[in-house]
């Protein structure tokens, strides 16, 4: 095909991809163009999604949030998505710099499927469903089904990520990350945490410390039993401290050019304790 195609509808995008399953899919370009500029990828045809209106939409219903794959970080931070999914907005705010956030998309963070992708731990704690579509139909997957390894997804040829659906929760949400400076950093360790006042449960997921995005299932259950749910989710700071230590045992960090396994595990413990203290604030939960 040797060209750049700019479809104006989802149907046109899918039929273009069916006709040319090897076409390289381009969203905001903030991962893909880096690879092209470095000569690591040399696409012979490109399917650019920027003008597909179905992918640029979001919708907020009482229980769920639907976010099109082409919605940018800037949109997540500055629209009603930020109120509906506060931790997702927190994660979006930590990505790159303003020009990166203007271009980079949620679908692109999923497509890259890096364990350091800042939105991914948040998706794991908000019970995300990833919607994939091809000319043959739609599939709905959980994050751990979609992301099958470091930078590996189960996307089939001819298939696009079209949207992500997330739970809305009642209670605090946090996303915290550690890097060498405050802007423009790929996370060395990240924690997303939700304390759900309705189901009286805690969900905690980690970034940059495993091949995937692990949940701290044992520590979550341990903490849920120790939170005073009748009093605005009050918590003893010593419990939060121990929670952090417990969370940090439920991941498998490695040494690499960004950090060491030992530091990453330590950082996860500090972040998880801090996040639990923040979400378990009776004042913040409207309980005075």
């Amino acid at each position: 095909m040797n060209r750049v195609v700019l479809p104006l509808s989802l149907q046109e995008a899918l039929s273009t991809l069916t006709a040319d399953p090897d076409a390289t899919v381009l969203a905001g370009g903030t991962d893909l163009m880096v690879e092209i500029n470095r000569g690591m990828r040399r696409p012979t045809s490109v399917l650019a999604l920027a003008k597909v209106p179905e992918l640029r939409r979001w919708e907020i219903t009482p229980n769920r949030i639907h976010i099109g794959a082409g919605v940018t970080y800037t949109e997540i931070m500055t629209t009603e998505i930020a109120q509906a999914a506060p931790a997702l907005a927190q994660a979006a705010r930590t990505v790159g710099s303003p020009p990166i956030r203007n271009a980079g998309t949620l679908g692109g963070n999923l497509g890259t499927a890096s364990p350091a992708g800042d939105t991914l731990p948040v998706l794991a704690t908000l019970n995300a469903t990833i919607l994939l579509q091809s000319a043959n139909g739609q599939r709905q997957l959980q994050l751990d089904e979609f992301m099958v390894g470091v930078k590996r997804t189960c996307l089939e040829p001819g298939e696009l990520i079209i949207a992500t659906e997330l739970d809305r929760t009642n209670g605090g949400q946090e996303y915290l990350k550690i890097g060498p400076r405050n802007a423009m950093v790929i996370s060395m360790a990240g924690v997303a945490l939700v304390a759900d006042l309705d189901t009286r449960s805690v969900r905690c997921a980690m970034g940059s410390v495993d091949a995937g995005i692990p949940r701290a299932l044992k520590a979550e259950a341990w903490a849920a039993e120790r939170i005073d749910w009748d009093n605005g989710a009050a918590i003893d700071p010593a419990v939060a401290q121990e929670f952090g230590q417990r969370v940090s045992t439920e991941c498998s960090p490695i040494d690499d050019h960004r950090s060491t396994a030992a530091y990453r595990r330590h950082a996860i413990g500090v972040l998880a304790a801090r996040a639990l203290n923040r979400v378990c604030s009776p004042k913040r939960n409207g309980h005075v």
Partner: protein
């Protein structure tokens, strides 16, 4: 692998011929259209010396596939003033405040500051630092850059 398309840059339609489809907007601006105000440094979005506006949105032109922004309005640093004799308020403030050292990061900063002041005529120090967090100055002249932004903002507020 070559193709032909048209880009709208600073209000002018520019024909791009025989371009490889993998060329970035940064490459096309500099090497094909001769607009060298936009600087080429990291080519991975880390430094913002290649910042331009695409349909009014601040973007790193190194991360934009040129052929994919056909029909969109592209503004480069050259489009923000009428040349050296008639600088924009932001450019003049950079000169007056000594915010230009080697000058390499300056075009990207000028574009980013125009974008900031368009949205927020009275930014705080934190707002400015946040807005320019992607712009690297290797001479580390950030103090004077900050002063220039506040001076430009003040002048723009006083001369509507």
């Amino acid at each position: 692998m070559s193709n032909t398309y048209s880009l709208r840059v600073n209000g002018t339609d520019c024909e791009v011929t025989d371009s490889d489809i993998t060329e970035s907007l940064l490459f096309v601006l500099r090497e094909r259209l001769g607009l060298t105000g936009t600087k080429n440094a990291c080519t991975e979005g880390e430094c913002s010396s290649c910042a331009v506006l695409v349909d009014g949105m601040l973007t790193c032109s190194c991360l934009v596939l040129a052929a994919a922004v056909e029909g969109q309005e592209i503004t480069t640093v050259e489009g923000l003033s009428n040349g050296p004799e008639d600088l924009s308020v932001v450019q003049q403030a950079f000169v007056d405040n000594g915010a230009v050292q080697c000058g390499f990061c300056t075009p990207g900063l000028i574009v980013a500051v125009h974008d900031l002041l368009e949205a927020d005529p009275a930014p705080t120090d934190t707002d400015v630092r946040e807005a320019l967090s992607g712009n690297l100055c290797r001479c580390t002249g950030y103090g004077r850059i900050l002063a220039a932004v506040h001076a430009a903002a003040e002048q723009m507020r006083s001369t509507p």
